[in-house]
């Protein structure tokens, strides 16, 4: 498993919220901290949901614009990061919907020019295309689980479902993905 992406602790979240509510320079600093703390995992999530780098960047921008406006009124009904991931999922769905039917996903994938790398790249392209064919629900579950650093409890909170249900949703989504890849 790859190294975990940066994440925010509850204490850091509280500090950020206090800074945002204080306004002025403290708000700018808190917003900057939030951006640096969440930009990579949010980009990863949006990348999986949209299937395209440009759409992922677009969605990430939308999330931080929405946060800039709504964060001072955040009521704290859930953890800040849970709320942010919910917004990110919606932004990613919308960014994907802006893409017209039949538009290409990113053709480039990681890897060098060797035979083994090319085989890995082909496999990766196939997997990404398979994921892109899934409906939004299963794609969201697989995408959230693929973000390093998110636990199943956090994912359950983000989706607003019981912890036990999150595993059955992941299993159903994985089965759909396997079926989609073998089709």
């Amino acid at each position: 498993m790859a190294a975990r992406l940066p994440e925010l602790s509850s204490a850091e979240e509280a500090e950020i919220l206090a800074g945002v509510r204080a306004g002025g320079a403290a708000r700018r600093e808190a917003s900057d901290r939030l951006f640096r703390g969440l930009r990579e995992p949010l980009h990863a999530l949006c990348m999986h949901v949209t299937g395209r780098r440009a759409d992922a960047e677009d969605a990430v921008q939308e999330v931080f614009v929405a946060l800039h406006r709504a964060l001072p009124e955040f009521r704290g009904a859930s953890r800040l990061t849970t709320w942010v991931y919910r917004i990110a999922l919606r932004a990613a769905f919308r960014a994907r919907a802006r893409r017209r039917d039949g538009e290409q996903l990113d053709p480039e994938m990681p890897g060098g020019g060797g035979e083994a790398e090319m085989a890995t790249r082909d496999e990766a392209i196939r997997a990404v295309a398979g994921l892109a064919r899934l409906p939004a629900g299963p794609r969201a579950v697989l995408s959230l689980f693929a973000v390093d650093g998110l636990s199943h409890r956090e994912i359950a909170d983000i989706l607003g479902i019981p912890e036990g249900t999150v595993w059955s949703r992941l299993h159903a989504a994985r089965r759909m993905l396997i079926q989609s890849l073998s089709a």
Binding site: E57, L67, I87, R90, R96, R100, G137, R174
Partner: protein, 227 residues
């Protein structure tokens, strides 16, 4: 007796570090004799690895400074929208000015002022709403269900607005072609109003509606497919 489906869930739990030691032992015992579950495990691990690598490769090439610049530019988007509202109000004033006989221009312009004010307030309201729509109901319980409800409402709204704007354009064109008035030129006045309405209809028809319908289809809303 646990089925293969139960063990597949255990495979997911193990991949994501949520399976306890006795569970791992039971799973290993089952995997030793079940080819189907071994294949599932290999597929799940491979998919996780591919997704993780892809996200990391993409994130490594992101120009975060450019992303930050984009965020700042969008934050001022509402200000630009208000600027557009003022331009629209000025356009309306121009239509009134051009279509009215010189002696009555000022009086008629004064009468049109409330309508222009309403236009600016309306656009300000839409700009404020548009800035917050992404977070609307973001803390409701079942996220995807809530979102489906919002998208369905959006599809229905866009369809109604499409027909409403088409009807308004038809009415304005009819008035532009057949209207008679002693104090102003109906062709310039109604024709001038029909133009932005036709642009709004075109936007709804070719951009907004297809987009929300794609969103609805992606979320599995059957209503998103047909018109």
């Amino acid at each position: 007796m646990a089925s293969c489906a139960d063990f597949e869930i255990d495979i997911e739990k193990r991949i994501h570090g949520a399976l306890d030691e006795p569970g791992r032992a039971r799973l290993d015992e089952h995997l030793a004799g079940c080819e189907t579950c071994r294949a599932y495990q290999a597929a799940a691990r491979e998919a996780e690895a591919v997704m993780s690598l892809r996200a990391r490769t993409a994130a490594a090439t992101v120009d975060w400074t450019r992303v930050e610049r984009g965020i700042r530019a969008r934050i001022y988007g509402s200000v630009r929208m208000l600027g557009a509202a003022v331009v629209a109000a000025a356009y309306m004033a121009g239509m009134v000015w051009l279509s009215t006989t010189p002696a009555l221009r000022e009086a008629r312009l004064l009468r049109t002022l409330p309508a222009m004010g309403i236009l600016v307030v309306l656009v300000a309201f839409v700009a404020a709403y548009s800035a917050r729509r992404l977070v609307a109901m973001a803390d409701r319980e079942e996220m995807l269900e809530t979102y489906r409800g919002l998208v369905l409402a959006n599809v229905q709204w866009a369809r109604r607005m499409q027909w409403a704007t088409a009807a308004i354009v038809a009415f304005l064109l009819y008035k532009a072609l057949t209207g008679r008035a002693a104090t102003f030129d109906p062709t310039v006045y109604y024709g001038g109003l029909a133009l932005p309405m036709a642009a709004a209809w075109f936007y709804l028809r070719t951009v907004k509606l297809p987009r929300v319908e794609r969103e609805a289809r992606d979320l599995g809303i059957a209503d998103g497919a047909g018109r």
